[in-house]
């Protein structure tokens, strides 16, 4: 979706301003928001793509004025409501008013180390051979779905070169919406800055994305 998350090449946000000796968290609630996001995700009722889509679906004015852990916390509330775990009234009152959806599983303290060590690999076998090989020239798709995608707008309809075939991976565009993993090959695709940014772009700058096969056409 052409949402607030699609930031590549946007302007006006000011300096990066890295903080010297930045602490890992800036408030205790950030720790709880981070941990809750992981623990609630471990119930197994949504996947990382649906989580990302919930975050990018925040109103742009909300997204741009929220810190990243605020974005996580707000998206977590949306996911919990969508899947029937909490009701809006419960969030308003700050207490449980009864049972909701029962979780497939609950992450217990003693299982955290194993769960984090395992992670969530999303490589999958794909039937057939990759359509593209390194050094193939491609053009990226130009499309503007209202749904989740991982092709940034700055890379729409651009000429690039396949650098590497990375193997099969879950397709986020369908997985974010409960429409299955539908794995596809993923490729690292390199663009020159002049191809992406046009006039005045740095001729020796290159930018790569990792693109699912259906984002690409031969060129």
């Amino acid at each position: 979706m052409n949402g607030p998350q699609d930031l590549g090449g946007q302007m006006g946000f000011g300096p990066v301003a890295p903080e010297k000796n930045e602490p890992l968290f800036h408030a205790d609630w950030e720790k709880r928001a981070m941990g809750m996001t992981i623990a609630a995700g471990a119930m197994g009722h949504w996947n990382i793509d649906e989580s990302r889509h919930a975050r990018e679906s925040l109103h742009p004015a909300d997204y741009y004025t929220s810190s990243y852990y605020e974005i996580w916390a707000k998206a977590l509330e949306i996911l919990l409501k969508r899947h029937g775990f909490v009701q809006p009234q419960e969030l308003d009152e700050g207490r449980s008013l009864g049972k909701g959806t029962q979780p497939k599983r609950v992450l217990k303290a003693e299982n955290v180390a194993a769960a984090l060590a395992k992670g969530g690999p999303c490589d999958r076998p794909v039937a057939g051979e990759p359509r593209f090989q390194p050094s193939d020239r491609i053009r990226t798709h130009n499309f503007n779905p209202e749904t989740h995608t991982r092709l940034p707008r700055y890379a729409h309809g651009k000429l690039g070169v396949i650098e590497a075939v990375r193997g099969g991976f879950v397709f986020p565009d369908s997985n974010a919406h409960g429409k299955g993993e539908n794995p596809q090959y993923v490729y690292t695709v390199v663009f020159t800055a002049p191809e992406i940014w046009g006039d005045g772009a740095d001729p020796i700058l290159t930018v790569s994305i990792d693109a699912w096969e259906s984002y690409l056409e031969p060129a």
Binding site: M36, G94, V186, I196, W212
Partner: protein, 206 residues
């Protein structure tokens, strides 16, 4: 069940996000959907166990051991796993090596993808609009903000982490570091040097 983790909540009660997140944790705990102690363990993991020292050891080993460097180039996930750094947001790793000709810079323009298993949790600037917007169109300008001035002839390659591959930059080994042990070398490897917004420190720092 009111939970007993008040030791975690030192926020000002008037802070709306602190109140909102506390309310959510109360509800989820009362419903039995989360174990508050699991959250403690998750937080402790990223505060004390998983952070950029992991990545620094990977880089120091690659600087010291050409066979390891080669393995890291070919199969970063396995080479990193051999040092016991695995798991969440490090399932599919790629290592990209800086050279005198090419400087690598990693960003996630679409969210905040970051190699947690080797660098821990990302800093705020990495997740924020200024960096995410500017890194792909004006990386040289971004680097100036980090006091990294590259020769005009150095090519910059920006890696936008749009899929599930996570990138670790292997900075160039600093001059004058020939005699140093892996442990000493690891102290030269900063977090930012493994994102591409920094360079490895000079050996006097070891």
């Amino acid at each position: 069940m009111p939970h007993d983790h008040d030791d975690h909540h030192h926020d000002n009660e008037l802070d709306p996000m602190a109140a909102r997140v506390r309310a959510l944790e109360t509800i989820l705990t009362e419903k039995g959907l989360i174990d508050p102690q699991a959250i403690d363990v998750i937080v402790d993991t990223y505060e004390t166990k998983v952070g950029p020292r992991n990545g620094a050891k990977v880089v120091a080993k690659a600087w010291s051991d050409p066979e390891y460097a080669d393995w890291l180039k070919r199969d970063a996930t396995a080479a990193i796993e051999s040092l016991s750094y695995t798991g969440r947001q490090g399932e599919h790793m790629q290592a990209v090596f800086n050279t005198p000709d090419t400087h690598n810079l990693v960003v996630c323009t679409l969210c905040s993808c970051y190699p947690w298993s080797v660098l821990g949790l990302p800093p705020v600037w990495y997740k924020s609009p200024p960096y995410r917007s500017k890194a792909v169109i004006d990386p040289r300008g971004v680097l100036v903000e980090f006091d990294v001035i590259l020769p005009e002839t150095t090519r910059i390659r920006v890696w936008d982490s749009t899929a599930e591959l996570r990138y670790l930059v292997v900075p160039m080994r600093p001059e004058g570091s020939e005699g140093l042990s892996e442990e000493q070398l690891a102290r030269l490897v900063t977090r930012d040097s493994m994102i591409g917004t920094g360079l490895a420190l000079a050996p006097e720092a070891a």
